[in-house]
C-alpha cells in the first residue's frame, strides 16, 4: 500500500451565508501536497486562495460552511473539534500570515510568543528551557543579537524582522507543513528577498512541505516545485512550475503571465491587458467564470463550467479548448495578442524643454521631545540634497525602499513653496518666486494620481463631481465642465454615461482610471504618479500601465513616476533615479541603468526583484542586503549605505576606510551617474 500524501484536499468547498445571498468563496477544489514539497498557490484577491488554506487550518469564522474533506496523512481533519485541531496546529501544520505588523500580540515580548508555541505542544518544557530555545530560533531566522532582542516587544521590530519572528514561531515545533499566506506582500523587495531566503532555510531545516500563497508570479517562479492557479474559487490550472510557466493552457494563466511586466523584458513590448474583473462569488452565472474576460470563449463556455482535466504528466487545466491550446493549434499569443501602440497625437512642441527641475533639494524634519518646552533631539533627513530633471514628454522613475524619501520629494514638488535648501523649477519658473495667484494657476500644470484608488475618491461624490472638481477650483462654467468630464472619461477608457455613478460601483482598475481622469482635468504638463498600480491586482495593472503610456504619447505629458516595483518602472520610464536615505545613489537613462547598474544598492535592488520565469529565476545569484533601512535620524559618517553594502565587505581596509569617512557624490560613470567610490572594484553580478 502506498503512503498517503502529507496533505490531501478533496473537493473542498467553503461558503459564507450572507444577507445578500450565499458567497461561495471556494467551490470544490482538490489538491495534494507531498512530504517536503513546495506548492505555490497563485490567484488574485477574492480567488479563494486564502480561504481554502484557512479551511485546512480550521481557522475560518464560525459561520463558514465547509464541505468536502481535508486529510492529513490520510486522516480527516474536517469535523474535528477545536481542541483536537489545536493539538495539530503549530505542531503538524504551521502558518505564516500576510501582515507582520498586526500578526503578533502587541503586549507580549517576542520571546514569550515563541515560547508560548513551544510550551503548548510540549507540556514538560519549562519556561527557562523554552526561552533558551526561543533565542536559538531567533538566531536561525537571522535576528541580530537574539539574546537581547528576545525580550523586546513586537513594536520594537521592523516589518521584515517581525515576519522573521513569525517564521520562528512557525518552525518552533518542527512542523510537517508550513502554510505561508502572502508572507512578503507587505514588505519591500529587498526585505522580500531576505524573507524568502529565510523561508527556504526554514524548509531545509525542518524538512517541511511549504504551501506558499501569493499573487506574485515571480515569487513562486523561483521557489515552488508545483503551482496551482485559482480563479473565482476554483483551481483552473495545476502542474510543475516549469510546465505551467512555459506551456500554460488555461487562458487565465496565459493572460496573467503575459500581463506581468518582467524586469528582463519590460520596456520593449507593450503589456497585455487582461480586461474585466473577476465575477461576484455570490451569484455566479452558469458556465466558465472566466468566460466574460476570455478572448477565445466559444458559446459552449457559457453553458457548463469545465472541470479540471488531466493533460499530461501532472499538468491539469480547466478549459474546454485546452486540447487546442496544448496541441499548439492555438498559440498563447493568439489567445492574448499584444495590443498595438496607439498612434501618437500631435507631437509635443519643445520636447526638450525642462518641465521639472530640482536642484539640491533638502527637507529635514526636526525631531523634538518634551511637551511644553520642546527641544530638538535629532533631525530626520527625509530628503538630503537631490537633483532631478524631467523634460517634456519624458517619464522619470523614482525608485527606492519605503522610507527612502520618495514621498517627501513628491510633497515638496506639489507644495510649490520655497524649499529649505535648493530650488524647484516648474516649467521654467522657480516656485519660490510665485505669487499666490500664480501658484494657484501653476497647480493646473502639476497634478497627482494616488496609490490607493479606494481611498483617494470621496465616496459621497459622483464621478462627474470628482473628475470636475479641479475645474471648479479654477472657475470653469458648468456646461463646459460637463463636456470636459465626458471627454476625460472617454480618454481614460470609461463610458461617459457612467458620470452619474458613485465610486463604490467601480472596480479598483476603473477607480484608478477615474483618478487619472481627475488628474488630467486641468490639462497638466506634469503628472505625479505615486505608486499608481501597486494597490491593483496584477491582471488590472497592465491595463493601467498601457493607458498611462498612451496618454503620455497622446497628450505629450511628463510623468514623475514613483514606484517600488522596478519592473513597472522599467516598463514606462525614460530615465530612472534610485533613492536611498534621502539621496539619489544612481540615475540615468532607464535602459542603461537596468542593463549595467553601477551602484551596489541598485544592483541589490534589481537582484531582489523576482522574475516570473522559473528557469531564469533559479539560475540567478541574489545579492542580499543585510538588515533593514537604517533610521533616517541616524548620523552615518561617510557613505550612508556602507552598513548594508555587499561591496563594502569585499573591499580591502584602505578602500573601506574611504567609504567610512568620505561621503560619495553622484559622478558620471559610463552613461549613468552613481554615488559610489569603488565602482571600478565592483564585481557583484546583477540580474
Amino acid at each position: 500500500m502506498t503512503e498517503p500524501p502529507l496533505l490531501e484536499v478533496r473537493d473542498l468547498s467553503v461558503s459564507f451565508p450572507q444577507a445578500s445571498g450565499i458567497v461561495r468563496a471556494v467551490r470544490g477544489i482538490s489538491y495534494t501536497v507531498n512530504q517536503g514539497e513546495f506548492l505555490g498557490i497563485v490567484g488574485e484577491s477574492g480567488s479563494g486562495k486564502s480561504v481554502s488554506s484557512m479551511a485546512v487550518m480550521g481557522l475560518l469564522p464560525r459561520n463558514a460552511v465547509v464541505t468536502g474533506d481535508v486529510l492529513l496523512r490520510g486522516e480527516s481533519l474536517l469535523g474535528r473539534d477545536d481542541r483536537e485541531l489545536s493539538r495539530l496546529r503549530g505542531k503538524e501544520i504551521a502558518m505564516i500570515f500576510q501582515d507582520p505588523l498586526s500578526a503578533l500580540t502587541p503586549v507580549y515580548t517576542v520571546g514569550n510568543q515563541i515560547a508560548e508555541g513551544l510550551m503548548l505542544h510540549d507540556k514538560g518544557l519549562g519556561a527557562k528551557a523554552a526561552a533558551v530555545r526561543a533565542v536559538e530560533l531567533l538566531r536561525v531566522v537571522g535576528i541580530p543579537a537574539p539574546e537581547r532582542r528576545v525580550n523586546a516587544f513586537p513594536h520594537e521590530f521592523s516589518g521584515g524582522m517581525r515576519q522573521r519572528v513569525m517564521i520562528a514561531i512557525a518552525i518552533a515545533n518542527d512542523p510537517n507543513l508550513i502554510i505561508a499566506d502572502e508572507p512578503t506582500t507587505a514588505l519591500d523587495v529587498t526585505i522580500q528577498a531576505q524573507i524568502l531566503e529565510v523561508l527556504q532555510k526554514a524548509k531545509e531545516l525542518t524538512g517541511a512541505a511549504v504551501v506558499l500563497i501569493t499573487h506574485d508570479l515571480g515569487v513562486v517562479a523561483g521557489n515552488a516545485d508545483r503551482i496551482a492557479v485559482m480563479y473565482a474559487g476554483k483551481l483552473v490550472e495545476t502542474g510543475a512550475v516549469d510546465d505551467v510557466f512555459t506551456r500554460p493552457v488555461m487562458p487565465y494563466t496565459i493572460g496573467l503571465l503575459r500581463s506581468v511586466p518582467n524586469l528582463v523584458t519590460a520596456g520593449r513590448t507593450r503589456l497585455v491587458p487582461l480586461e474585466g474583473r473577476p465575477p461576484s462569488l455570490s451569484n455566479l452565472p452558469p458556465g466558465c467564470p472566466f468566460e466574460p474576460r476570455c478572448p477565445i470563449a466559444v458559446s459552449a463556455c457559457t453553458t457548463e463550467e469545465p472541470p479540471l482535466l488531466q493533460l499530461r504528466g501532472g499538468h491539469d487545466a480547466a478549459c474546454i479548448r485546452a486540447g487546442e491550446i496544448e496541441s499548439g493549434v492555438l498559440h498563447p499569443s493568439d489567445v492574448f495578442p499584444r495590443p498595438e501602440p496607439v498612434a501618437e497625437g500631435a507631437k509635443v512642441v519643445n520636447e526638450r524643454e525642462s518641465i521639472l527641475s530640482i536642484n539640491g533639494l533638502v527637507k529635514h524634519f526636526p525631531l523634538t521631545a518634551g511637551m511644553v518646552f520642546k527641544k530638538q533631539i535629532g533631525t530626520v533627513k527625509a530628503v538630503d540634497g537631490i537633483d532631478l530633471e524631467i523634460r517634456g514628454g519624458e517619464v522619470l522613475g523614482l525608485v527606492g525602499e519605503s522610507g527612502c524619501g520618495k514621498s517627501t520629494t513628491i510633497l515638496e514638488v506639489l507644495e510649490m513653496t520655497s524649499p529649505q535648501v535648493g530650488s524647484i523649477t516648474i516649467a521654467g519658473r522657480d516656485v519660490a518666486e510665485l505669487s499666490k495667484a500664480e501658484r494657484l494657476s501653476m497647480r493646473k500644470d502639476v497634478q497627482i494620481v494616488f496609490q490607493d484608488p479606494m481611498a483617494a475618491l470621496d465616496p459621497r461624490l459622483t464621478i462627474e463631481d470628482i473628475v470636475g472638481e479641479p475645474l471648479t477650483v479654477h472657475g470653469t462654467s458648468r456646461t463646459e465642465r460637463r463636456r470636459r468630464v465626458a471627454e476625460l472619461l472617454d480618454l481614460v477608457g470609461l463610458e461617459h454615461t457612467m458620470a452619474g455613478r458613485y465610486p463604490h460601483e467601480f472596480s479598483g482598475g476603473q477607480r484608478q482610471r477615474v483618478g487619472i481622469a481627475r488628474a488630467l482635468a486641468t490639462s497638466p504638463k506634469l503628472l505625479v504618479l505615486d505608486e499608481p498600480v501597486s494597490a491593483l491586482d496584477v491582471s488590472i495593472q497592465a491595463g493601467i500601465m498601457n493607458l498611462l503610456e498612451d496618454l503620455k504619447l497622446q497628450l505629450g505629458l511628463s510623468y514623475l513616476f514613483v514606484a517600488h516595483d522596478l519592473a513597472v518602472v522599467r516598463q514606462i520610464a525614460d530615465t530612472v533615479a534610485v533613492m536611498y536615505l534621502g539621496r539619489i545613489v544612481e540615475s540615468g537613462e532607464v535602459g542603461e541603468v537596468f542593463a549595467r547598474p553601477h551602484h551596489p544598492y541598485t544592483q541589490a535592488l534589481m537582484s531582489a526583484v523576482p522574475i516570473p520565469d522559473p528557469e531564469a529565476e533559479r539560475s540567478r545569484v541574489r545579492i542580499l542586503l543585510d538588515g533593514d533601512l537604517p533610521s533616517p535620524t541616524d548620523e552615518i559618517s561617510g557613505c550612508n549605505f556602507h552598513g548594508r553594502c555587499p561591496l563594502f565587505k569585499l573591499l580591502d581596509p584602505a578602500r573601506q576606510q574611504r567609504c567610512l569617512t568620505e561621503d560619495p557624490h553622484l559622478r558620471v560613470i559610463d552613461t549613468t551617474s552613481a554615488a559610489c567610490h569603488h565602482v571600478d572594484q565592483n564585481t557583484l553580478q546583477p540580474l
Binding site: K91, F97, A103, E116, I169, A170
Partner: protein, 326 residues
C-alpha cells in the same frame, strides 16, 4: 517610566489645586451663609450674624480674593479647611466621612469594573446571541434608571425578601447597627448594611463598563494576532482570554478614569437613600445649608478622588501596554 508618571501626577496635582480654588470661589459667590440666620426666631442682631460669619471666614463684606487667600493659606500653613456652620472643623469631618464613603466607592467600583469587564467580554464573544442581547438591554435599563429610583427599587425588593424569610437579613439604613458585640456579628452586620448600596453602585458601574468592554473586545476579536495564537495551537477560548482580553483591557484603564465621576455622583445619591453619613451627604447638605467651607471641602475631596483615579489610570495603562512605556 517613573519620571513620566511623576510628571503626570504633578500635572493632576496642579489641576486639583485649581479645581479646589475654583470650587471655593464658586461656593463663596453663590451661597449666602447669612441666610440661615434670617429664619431664626428671634432673629440674631446683624452684629451677631456678622461676628459668626467672620468667625467662619465667610463674611461677605471681606473681599472674595482676600477670603480665598486666607482659606488657602490656612490649608497650606495649618492644614485646616475651616469650620462648618456648627463649628466642627471641616477637615476632621471629612476624614471620618471619607472613610465611610470610600468603603462604598472602592468595593462598588471594583466590583462594577470586574462585572462590567466580564459581561462585556461575554457579550462580545457571543455577539447578537440571546445572552448578549440580555446583557445589552439590562445595561441600558440600568443606565437609563436614575440612581435613586434604582436604590428605592432595591430597597423594596429587600423588604419583600426580609418579609419572606421573616428576618432582617438585609439592612438598608446606616452603615452599621450600634451596640453589637462579637467580631463575627459586627462583620456580618457590616456586610448586611453594605449589601444594597454596593449592589446599586456596582450595577451602575458594570452597566457602563460592559458597554465599553464589549466594543473593545469586538475590535480585538477579529485581530490578526488572535489568528496567530490559534495557529500556534491555542484553542479558540484560550486564545481569546490570553491574547484577546489582555489587549482589550488596555483602553478600559482610560474609561475607568472617565467614568469614575459618574460613580461618585451615583454614590452621593446612594448615601442619601441608604442614610450613610458619608462625603456625599456632606456635599448635598452643605449646599442646602449654605455652608461655604464644607462645600469647598467636598469639592476638594472630589478632586482628590479624580487625581487618584486619573493617576491610577495612567499607571494601569502603562502597565498594560508596553507601547506607551518610555
Amino acid at each position: 517610566m517613573i519620571l513620566y508618571t511623576v510628571r503626570r501626577f504633578i500635572n493632576y496635582l496642579i489641576l486639583t489645586v485649581l479645581a479646589t480654588v475654583i470650587g471655593y470661589v464658586l461656593a463663596s459667590a453663590v451661597l449666602s451663609p447669612a441666610a440661615r440666620f434670617y429664619g431664626k426666631n428671634p432673629r440674631p442682631s446683624d452684629a451677631a450674624i456678622e461676628a459668626s460669619l467672620r468667625r467662619l471666614g465667610v463674611d461677605p463684606n471681606v473681599p472674595l480674593l482676600q477670603r480665598t487667600w486666607e482659606w488657602m493659606s490656612n490649608i497650606f500653613l495649618h492644614g485646616s479647611f475651616g469650620l462648618e456652620n456648627n463649628l466642627d472643623p471641616v477637615g476632621h469631618d471629612m476624614l471620618v466621612r471619607s472613610g465611610i464613603s470610600l468603603q462604598l466607592l472602592l468595593i462598588g467600583s471594583l466590583l462594577g469594573a470586574l462585572l462590567g469587564v466580564s459581561f462585556g467580554v461575554w457579550g462580545a464573544v457571543r455577539q447578537y446571541r440571546l445572552s448578549d442581547q440580555v446583557v445589552t438591554y439590562a445595561s441600558y435599563l440600568i443606565l437609563a434608571t436614575p440612581v435613586f429610583v434604582f436604590g428605592v427599587i432595591l430597597m423594596i425588593l429587600a423588604t419583600n425578601f426580609n418579609d419572606a424569610v421573616s428576618k432582617q437579613v438585609i439592612a438598608f439604613t446606616g452603615q452599621y447597627t450600634p451596640g453589637l458585640d462579637g467580631t463575627w456579628n459586627i462583620v456580618l452586620d457590616r456586610v448586611s448594611h453594605l449589601f444594597l448600596p454596593t449592589i446599586a453602585l456596582a450595577a451602575l458601574g458594570a452597566a457602563e463598563y460592559s458597554r465599553y468592554q464589549r466594543n473593545a473586545m469586538l475590535d480585538v476579536l477579529s485581530a490578526d494576532y488572535i489568528r496567530t495564537a490559534r495557529s500556534k495551537g491555542r484553542t479558540r477560548g484560550s486564545a481569546m482570554v490570553r491574547h484577546g482580553v489582555r489587549v482589550a483591557l488596555i483602553p478600559m484603564s482610560t474609561y475607568f478614569a472617565y467614568s469614575f465621576g459618574t460613580l461618585v455622583a451615583g454614590s452621593t445619591f446612594l448615601e442619601l437613600i441608604f442614610s450613610w453619613h458619608g462625603m456625599g451627604e456632606l456635599a448635598l447638605t452643605s449646599i442646602t445649608e449654605n455652608d461655604v467651607n464644607a462645600t469647598a471641602g467636598s469639592v476638594f475631596y472630589l478632586s482628590i478622588l479624580v487625581l487618584i483615579s486619573s493617576t491610577l489610570a495612567e499607571v494601569l495603562y502603562a502597565a498594560l501596554d508596553p507601547r506607551v512605556r518610555i
